[in-house]
Structure formats: structure tokens, C-alpha cells
Symmetry: C2
Subunit: 226 residues, 2 copies
DNA sequence: ATTAAACTAGGTATAAACACCTGATTTTCA
DNA sequence: TGAAAATCAGGTGTTTATACCTAGTTTAAT
């Protein structure tokens, strides 16, 4: 029987070891490598002589994340099938991963059986999506037909001034305060804020703060408990 | 040899299964139960006849999280040793867990060996902290000596209801919307929000959102650029 | 040189947030 | 059982944020 060569990419050692033991119980699986970030994974793939058939790829990894790593590896080695295995289940992540070349998407809240099944299916047929993910993809196809505007808005990057204002909003300043700091009229600040709300599709400042932190436009200290 | 009875509490099935296989290789470990949230864990502990010696507790769980579950279980069953096993490594979380009764704190980015070692140590001596965590605790003791005022304010933990409100504020809901969702008067929500502003020393919702994210009371999915 | 975008700023309104009160239940815990 | 904390909710008023407009000036790029 031809064994399936597998690489595991995840930043949590415990998770790697755990899933490794799970998969090693399958006689036709062969775990050939474990790696804790995307950079090392790309390095490994570019140098190895023994290419994996499957990469189990976490999204959240230091240095280079799973999406970037998938993009690179899929371009240079399209034969290697990549299965996203992560705890993030939002539409954007799933479609994003599939866009950049993932052959499957599994939520960590799945069963060992499903992981094994997915690996076998991807190995045989080249792709596999479970029901949850299929539903999400389906919804996305439907909604993407009528809502080009939304993604267009996403593409519109924030201007310098808007970022200035966003930073000050996140620093808990009011419109008047921001106006004083930037030497402009409060009305202008309001204008910028309204544009920010539009561009980030937020409802209020709470949304802006979350956007800023997500996009790392704003730095927050992980812990300020003195 | 007396076996150590272990319960695993984590919302990710894959992680539970993985660590279960890792631990089952140890002859003196006996995994007696797996559970995916704090509510079910508390239920189980209150009904079972076979008490665990050790609970491996994740912090991020639906329904009732690891901190709350630890608080309850430590109070009702102080003999059960609880080991926090999570990916959150911030000071506040560590000290918080120890405050509510955790006997140890492990980051998921650790080795299987360390988990096994920790379980054995906790089982024998009642507690165990690795170097990383000890350093953090130490830093915390040092800094807390001179800054009583601040830490007193920090000690004022948010109440359940306040956390409910904070979550909804971070989800960009208005006072009226929150009131409807929680089936209380908008005035009450305002009261909670004002208490939140006081307790977190914030100026406005921006500060609340940042606080929620810092303390990981709110989950935000990181952004993996498009 | 022309055009698009960014930056600026004003008018007019309403909705929401924030401040500072008070006080009545209920829960929790020593 | 008694005190403290949490939860609920109301009054009154000010400040900010948000919505929907218009429109002039500057800046950057083709």
C-alpha cells in the first residue's frame, strides 16, 4: 500500500504531538515532518527531497501565517495538497484559504475520524469539504453574486488622515479632542470618522477599535495588569 | 500503583482526543472523562461517584469558561487539583487562575513531557509551576508591592452581568439593543456600562473594547490579510 | 493639464453615550 | 441572620456620536 506522507504545521507543540499520535495509528499515514511556523515550513518544502502529499496547516502561526504559507506553497508545489486545520470558522477565513489553494478546511472542533477521512479523501480525490464548510461556501457564493459593493469597500484602504483619526479614537479621545490634536475642525474629524465607519463597515466606535486592533493599526499591550 | 484519575475539559474535540492519547501512554494515568464546556464539567463533578484527582482545564470554553468553572469546583471540591492548560499566557490570566484555585498553569505551547511531569508533580505535591510561569508570578509579586491602589482597582473583577454587557458593547450594540437582548431596562444597561467605565478606568466604549480584548473577555479573530 | 482622491469644513437633526443622582430587590457569604 | 455586593430601574441633564447633506481646496498621479 502506498503510504500518504503528511506534514503537520501548527505553533502549539502539544497539538502537533497529539494529532501526530492520532494519525500515526493509521497504517497508511506517514508523518514525515512537524513544524511550528510558516517560515520554517516553506524552508523545509524548498529543501526536502521527500515531498509530502498532505500538509495539515494551522492558520495562526508566528512569522508567516497559514494563509501566506499556503499561497506560497500552492504556487511553487501545486501537487502538495493543503488541509487547513484551525479553530477559526468564519466565512472569510474559509473562502480565503480556498482562494489561495487549500484543498480542504477543517475546524479543530472536529473528530479524529473526520480528520482521517478528510486526509484520505483529499489524497484520493484532491479535495474534500464537510457539510459545515460546504454550507458556508454555498452561502458565500449566493451572497457574493449581489454584493460586489461590500468587497469593493473592503479593498478601499484607509488614508493617512483616517488612520490618524482612528488611532486617536482608539486612544479614547473625543471628536473635539482629536480636532485639537490634529489642528483641524471637529467637522473634519467627523467626516473622517464617518468614512472610517463606512470603509470598515462598522456600526460605531466599538467596531472601529476592533478593526484597528485586527489590522494591527493599533498596538495593544497583551496585558496591563500591574 | 495508584492510578491518577484525570478529566480533560477543552472545547476542541481534536485537542481532547490528542492529549488523551498522549496521556494514555502513561501507565499510571487514567483518563476518566472528557468534556467540552465548563457547565457540563460542573454537572459531571456534582454527580459522579468517581472523583478525578486532576482536571486539565482550558480557559476558553463556551457556556461557562475555565476560570468560572475552576472557581466553582475549587470551592466545592478543594481536593481536586486543577491544571490550567491554555494558549493564553498573559499575567492577568495566570494570576487570576491561581487566585481562583488552580494548582498549575501550562501553556499549550509546551511539550507532552512537561504535561506529564506537571500532572505527576501536582498529584504528589499539590502544585507545580514551570519557570516561565514562576517568572511571571514573581514579577507580579514585585510590582504589586508598590502599587496597591492600581491592583486594588484591578482586583475588582467584573460581575457576570457586566461581562454580558461588555460583550454586547464590543459587538457594536447600542444600549437599547443590549437591553432587549438581556431582557432588562436600558437604564440598567447604562448602570452596568457606567460601572464598567469605572472599573476599567475607561473614558468611553473605545476603552471598554480594548479592555475586553486585553483581558480576553472578548474574542477577536486575528486578521490574515486578503 | 486634467482628473480622482484626499482633505477640509459647514448645516441640520436625531440617537446614543455619559454624568451624577436615588433607591428597591435579590443574591451571596461569613 | 446580617452585611455586602450584585442586579435592577428610575429622574434629569449635558455631551458625543452618528446620519445625511453640500462643497471648496489641496495633493498626487497619468
Amino acid at each position: 500500500m502506498k503510504k500518504i506522507n503528511i506534514v503537520i504545521a501548527d505553533d502549539e507543540e502539544l497539538f502537533r504531538k497529539g494529532i501526530r499520535f492520532l494519525l500515526e495509528r493509521e497504517p497508511n499515514f506517514n508523518i514525515i515532518y512537524e513544524v511550528e511556523n510558516g517560515k520554517k515550513l516553506i524552508d523545509y518544502i524548498s529543501k526536502t527531497e521527500e515531498f509530502p502529499d498532505i500538509i495539515l496547516m494551522d492558520l495562526k502561526m508566528p512569522e508567516i501565517n497559514g494563509v501566506e504559507a499556503t499561497k506560497v506553497i500552492h504556487k511553487t508545489h501545486p501537487d502538495i495538497k493543503i488541509i487547513a486545520l484551525t479553530s477559526f470558522g468564519s466565512k472569510s477565513f474559509i473562502t480565503n484559504m480556498i482562494d489561495v489553494g487549500a484543498s480542504s478546511y477543517l475546524l479543530k472542533d472536529t473528530t479524529p475520524k473526520m480528520v482521517i477521512h478528510t486526509i484520505n479523501e483529499v489524497s484520493e480525490k484532491g479535495f474534500y469539504y464537510d457539510e459545515k464548510v460546504l454550507t458556508i461556501i454555498h452561502e458565500n457564493i449566493i451572497s457574493s453574486s449581489g454584493k460586489r459593493i461590500k468587497s469593493d469597500l473592503d479593498k478601499k484602504l484607509l488614508s493617512k488622515r483616517e488612520i490618524d483619526v482612528l488611532e486617536l479614537i482608539c486612544a479614547q479621545h473625543t471628536t473635539t479632542e482629536i480636532a485639537e490634536k490634529l489642528f483641524i475642525s471637529p467637522r473634519t474629524v467627523e467626516g473622517h470618522r464617518n468614512n472610517l465607519l463606512l470603509k470598515t463597515q462598522s456600526k460605531n466606535v466599538a467596531g472601529l477599535v476592533i478593526y484597528g486592533i485586527q489590522k494591527k493599526l493599533i498596538e495593544i499591550t497583551p496585558d496591563f495588569n500591574l
